[in-house]
């Protein structure tokens, strides 16, 4: 048992015998109790291998290789709520709790929130993730539901923009494929394939649990470990997640998407070299690059005021996504002049690459980042998600703060190398002919 403490927060950390990690954060005075189970399995895992005799698939050496249709991790997440007698959603409702799940490119998470019956909810959550129940009929029905989810995202400009940016940046890496898959790919999903993926990834050694609430952190962590020891399946082994060799250059320098929006959107991305499995290195890069992007394009930067007052953008979204096998920086905005905005952003990058970062800007950005970091501990969902993801690279939410505290100006300036024009791609999402085929029809019907 390890207990991590900083600025009045306490997180207890332990491992169950089957290898599953457990984190418990004490939140004195909170009414809500919360638990999350995260599996290291996401949309990027379209192909994998496992040395498991019960596996079906094509044999490659001592391993068995399995290829799956895009979108299967997300489909599996939906179907994990099916139980032999109804839906786990209803069972959580019966306990007065609510539940949800999320699939990303690299992980899938299951969560519940409750104010009482925490033990029973936890039992249900564990039952849900370890005891799948799929039928031909339920898989067929889910295809219709997910098709509507896919088209819902097709109508969301920021989803389309993010998707197009990844498609432009990546040539072969599966991050370029949509998390939900396509209407065609999800039609290929069968109960057998779902069982195969579940057996491969939903193993204690490949999962982590996070709980938070008005608990004594250490006592609760011990209790959760006991529950896991008595109920969890064997540790198993982690599957080998297949990632093709990705060249450093983007696939396409630009993509233009047309859709029914009120004004153009722009996303500018720079593909970065991934940090690999060195968690500390990845964290330092992430924090330094976030600071850099905020210094260059945040609201206190001169370029932001220039773009805002010039009517080019009213907000600039900046992000740096860092995983062991892929990383990229992005600047996103809504603008009336996409070309001009792109030009201004690149001009600012060019100036910074030549003249560096003023020390006063660095100190101010770091001070602000520290304040924002501390307040994140009020957001249980965000802390849980961050902790579960950091666990898989050997770090935790407090080490994030430690790195932030001692990051240097030099490290931030070194990250200017990410914003290299050779690794740049951009997406313009522009309005189709607005209103050209829109109209309103109104009628009044007798009461029903």
């Amino acid at each position: 048992m390890t207990v991590l403490r900083r600025f009045g927060e306490e997180i207890a950390f332990a491992h169950a015998e089957n290898g599953m990690a457990v984190f418990v954060m004490a939140k004195p005075g909170y009414r809500k109790k919360f638990a999350q189970v995260t599996v290291a399995y996401g949309a990027n895992d379209v192909a994998f291998s496992l040395p498991d005799p019960e596996f079906s698939g094509n044999s490659v050496g001592h391993m068995r290789r399995v290829e799956t249709p895009p979108g299967i991790a997300h489909f599996l997440e939906h179907k994990m709520f099916d139980r032999p007698r109804g839906s786990a959603f209803e069972d959580f409702s019966g306990l007065g709790a609510s539940a949800n799940a999320f699939t990303g490119n690299d992980v899938t998470s299951y969560v519940f929130w409750t104010v009482d019956e925490f033990g029973k909810c936890l039992e249900l959550l564990l039952d849900l993730v370890w005891k799948p129940h799929f039928t031909e009929e339920s898989v067929r029905k889910e295809q219709g539901i997910i098709e509507q989810e896919i088209v819902m995202y097709e109508d969301e400009p920021y989803s389309r923009l993010a998707r197009a940016l990844l498609e432009s940046l990546y040539r072969v890496h599966p991050v370029r494929i949509d998390v939900t898959g396509t209407k065609e790919s999800i039609r290929k999903i069968t109960p057998e394939l779902l069982y195969t993926c579940h057996a491969a990834f939903y193993r204690p050694c490949n999962m982590v649990m996070f709980a938070a609430g008005d608990f004594k952190a250490q006592d609760e962590a011990l209790r959760l470990v006991e529950i896991l020891d008595s109920t969890a399946p064997d540790k198993g082994s982690r599957p080998v997640r297949e990632r093709p060799e990705e060249p450093p250059e983007p696939r396409q320098s630009s993509i233009t998407v047309k859709m029914h929006v009120s004004r153009p959107f722009v996303s500018i991305g720079w593909k970065d070299r991934p940090a690999g499995d060195d968690g500390k290195k990845l964290l330092r890069r992430e924090i330094a690059t976030d600071l850099l992007l905020n210094i260059l394009f945040g609201k206190s930067s001169p370029v932001f005021a220039k773009l805002y007052e010039g009517g080019l953008a009213d907000d600039l979204g900046v992000s740096y996504e860092a995983w062991p096998d892929y990383a990229f920086a992005a600047v996103t905005a809504e603008t009336v002049e996409p070309e001009k905005l792109l030009e201004e952003v690149l001009k600012e990058v060019d100036v910074a690459r030549r003249s560096g970062i003023p020390a006063s800007d660095f100190e101010r950005a770091k001070n602000a980042a520290w304040g924002r970091y501390v307040t994140l501990f009020d957001d249980l969902d965000l802390i849980a998600e961050s902790q579960c993801q950091l666990y898989f690279i050997g770090e935790d939410v407090f080490s994030y703060g430690d790195v932030l505290r001692n990051i240097t100006l030099q490290e931030v300036e070194e990250r200017l190398s990410v914003l290299d024009p050779r690794f740049l791609a951009h997406v313009f999402l522009i309005p189709d002919t607005l209103s050209s085929n829109s109209y309103t029809r109104e009628d009044r019907r007798p009461r029903r």
């Binding site: 539901i145 609201k299 930067s301 009517g311 009213d314 101010r364 980042a369 109209y439 009628d443």
Partner: protein, 457 residues
Amino acid sequence: MDRVADPEVLSSGPVETEESFASTDLQPGLTLRRLPVNRWKTASLTVVFRVPMRRETVTRLGLVPRLASRGTRELPGLTEMARFLDEHYGAKLRSNATKIGYCQILNFSVSFPTPSAIDPDSGSRGRWLVKKLLSFVWSCAVEPRLDQDGYPPDVFTHEREEQRRDIEAIVNSRPEYAMVRLMEVLSHGDPSGLPAWGSLSDLDEVGPVDTWEVWRKSASSSPVDIYVVGLEEDVLAEACSAHNWTFPAPREFRLESEIKRKPPAVPGEMIAVEDELPGAQTILCIAFYAGIDAAHSRFPALLMYNGVLGGFPHSKLFTEVREKASLAYFADTVINSWRGMVIATAGVQDERRKQAEELVVEQTRSIALGQVSEDELEKTRRGLLRRLMSQRDSPSSLIRRSLDWIVLGGPRTDEELARMLLRVTKEDVVEVAQESRPVAVYALRAVPSNASGRDAS
């Protein structure tokens, strides 16, 4: 399961809690509301002005929060304001116009790490931080950067155009656009039914001097609430006593602002409206009028009815429309507690929209026929009670709940509402269903775009 909110009023119940805000009247109509408990790392100071919706003021006042973020008398530019916030531990300024029932709500809020989270021994530095930020957020609200008798013309013109673009941009979120259109259909021109930003067509008429004049008078005559979360009583008391609560015009608080107003009349016959916009998914919204608002004694029964129909994953819409018929990814309901309505929304394939509409209406009929099991009822009751309790962990929810109660009335405490929910019977829920009737069906139909597609290089 995430869904767009009704831009007017959506809440599980306008109540205060046992840990409700401790109120102190600083002046007539100026109330300090401090949450006496603190379990958070984030402190916030939120200044809220409540102004009744009027056609002649709503569009101008809708611009005020935008203009507030462009500069104050002391910090006259974007960069100065942003740097000030960065230097105060990344404090965040949020200013916006929202709506609760008949009131336009103008919010100016600054959030920041609590002094003890930054440094347990912060002492005088913590007190200094709170004083500075209280002064800052008050200045944003009532001491904006001005040029003679109004906002600087260039800043005003810029913000007016940004406001226009933002309003036009609602179309970029189809569920939000559909909800706004449904409210428009239901309001048939009544100004109290306008959205918080007012009217797009009125934007051309507003200027920097008249907008400041409207705000100067409204700010000086409206009820103002200062919500404080996360600060020790002595720190706050010191900051408040040092602060000069000046208004931009002589304070003339009028109780008239507190008079409750009725929502727009409900249509006598059912209105069906369809818009067509290029896209992939049709959004269907159906408004059911129950005539039970937040202050009504049967409001808890409406909450239960909404929960049984579409408020949860065990509800009829989720199980029948999504899970059994596979018609939608989302199919749920929300309450508009001012208008006394339940609004169902679903994202569906265009060619199946009629089928979805029939299925939604069928669920309301089945409740009216008494087809509600004990299991459905109890799951709903437990879910509502959990939501009520969980909201105590969220300062923004507590502020919202307090404002809902001030504007709309209803049970004042969690305990009162909880007791009322525990007393709701199946017969009460069935009765609500029997009295509810569909009053508007709105469909934002998806049609193929003439020019959608993509080019690559």
